[in-house]
Amino acid sequence: MLAYNATSMNSPAPAILTVTGLSKTYSGGFQALKAIDLEIQQGEILALLGPNGAGKTTLISTICGIVTPSTGQVSVNGYDIIKDYRQTRSMIGLVPQELHTDSFESVWNTVSFSRGLFGKAPDPAYIEKVLKSLSLWDKKDNMIMTLSGGMKRRVLIAKALSHEPTVLFLDEPTAGVDVELRKDMWNIVRKLKSEGVTIILTTHYIEEAEEIADRIGVINKGELILIEEKQSLMQKLGKKQLILDLVSPISSVPEALSGYQLEMNEEGSKLIYTFDTQGERTGITSLLDDLKSAGIGFHDLNTTQSSLEEIFVSLVSDAATEQPTA
């Protein structure tokens, strides 16, 4: 089709999933989600980060229909998850955190079962395509109980993809898998994104979010404390450090340089200057001038940027400080 809507060319992708004021209080009184508002754009990869018990799985489970929300609304492509559950659940695929599988079933049967359960007519060609894309084709007749943990995880992804969902939830997809398989998993996620699937994944691994996500949300104690484009989040909150290897060690930072709040290593051979990448001036040029004036020479310099992990830890600990528990 050649025609296109010029106005939509530069506008952001439409929201495929909208969460409004979603709260969940379990029967025991524990409030797992506190008025979550969230919008997910079509075709993006959103990573939800948070410590254990933060509410990540409850949020996913509520959207997928496993947990009943206490208050609030969730819509998928304009359909309400309660009123129009058939439409919303048909669009969603879920890969749970735990390896829940039918041990005595074959890979082929269990994936075909999932397709039928989600209301789709049998399509062996499609199932074959899914199994091949996940390197499961040669295992199609194997009983699930004979597969390794990594393969079982792939089977769960195949089941979730069996009904051709447009939104895929991956609840800690790489928990407990080795580095190689984790990278395989990331490639699978990238491939799915390229095919137009919107992906929401939860993870403990900051590295994972940093590697594959477009946006990052941080959940802590049932609250979505931040949601931001990965790049801008790292720019906004990321601090950079300039590390100078000195020609001769110094015993203390000269008084003339006190305004830079420099740190010094124990041996006095390195000076560390922390600056904000978003600031109007980084202060690097004047620091170098002042160092020269103070007679401090250096033979090497390098810069490092704080990782997402440091950002995450600082966010979660800030939230804990702001909301002290009784």
Partner: protein, 253 residues
């Protein structure tokens, strides 16, 4: 309606039966044969006739009911309990499938298995006795209604149970005694008047009596009372199942 979903569950459950053919079909046939040998040949030789028919023939409806009740309950309860136990229930709860469709899949499969089992037991009985069925359609109706309603009961138990002990407590400690005390192997006429009245409080008596009527036109209670009882029980179980799915009882948190 999610027809593919219903068929997926139904086929999955039927495949489970094929995998466990020994315990699903062979074991009940052997047990039934043993009943015929012990009750029919050993005891039956001392009890010549009950209500005008041979003892071996008299116990056939009771044996069918015993198997239908216990197997309907265990098949359906295990069918829904196992996904809960291993965690695969998440898929059912996140699928675009309604209460009634899930029930149709699970209960339909469990009832089909019971129906097949009932007919196999009937065929087994034909090896031991000269089988006569006065009202085959009524017999079939009783077998179908009993299979359906007790599969529904099994489904409810499977949802209620949170361990394997609870799963077996009702079939073993409730249903089996009720079947044995429900006139399966004797006529309540043989009991003292007081115990005859007590027996009338046993719901299984109505089922055995109704099924026996379809075979030999002899009954402890009117056949229509039996029919009304099983239909009433079916509706009660249906009501409970609808409540379970509407409230998410023991399924959704």
């Amino acid at each position: 309606m999610n027809v593919h979903g219903i068929l997926a569950i139904y086929r999955f459950e039927m495949a489970r039966t094929r995998r466990t053919l020994l315990q699903s079909i062979v074991a009940p046939v052997i047990t039934t044969s043993l009943y015929f040998i012990v009750f029919g040949a050993a005891i039956g030789s001392r009890i010549q006739e009950v209500g005008g028919i041979g003892y071996g023939a008299f116990i056939v409806p009771g044996l069918i009911m015993l198997n239908l009740l216990t197997h309907s309950i265990s098949n359906a309860s295990f069918g829904i309990y196992f996904p809960k136990f291993v965690g695969t229930i998440y898929e059912m709860l996140s699928a675009p499938i309604s209460t009634i469709e899930v029930v149709l899949g699970y209960v339909g499969a469990a009832a089909t298995k019971s129906l097949i089992l009932g007919l196999i037991i009937l065929a087994t009985a034909a090896f031991f006795i000269d089988l006569q069925i006065a009202h085959p359609f009524v017999m079939l109706l009783f077998i179908v209604l009993t299979s359906l309603s007790f599969s529904l009961l099994g489904f409810i138990l499977g949802i209620w149970a949170d361990n394997f002990e609870k799963l077996s407590v009702v079939p073993m400690l409730v249903v089996t005694p009720l079947v044995f005390l429900g006139g399966s192997f004797y006529s309540t006429d043989m009991l003292p008047p007081f115990w005859q009245s007590i027996s009338l409080m046993n719901p299984v008596l109505y089922l055995v009596s109704g099924l026996r009527w379809s075979f030999y036109e002899i009954a402890e209670v009117d056949v229509w009372v039996s029919m009304a009882s099983i239909i009433g029980f079916l509706l009660l179980c249906l009501g409970i199942v609808v409540y379970i799915f509407k409230t998410g009882y023991k399924l959704r948190s």
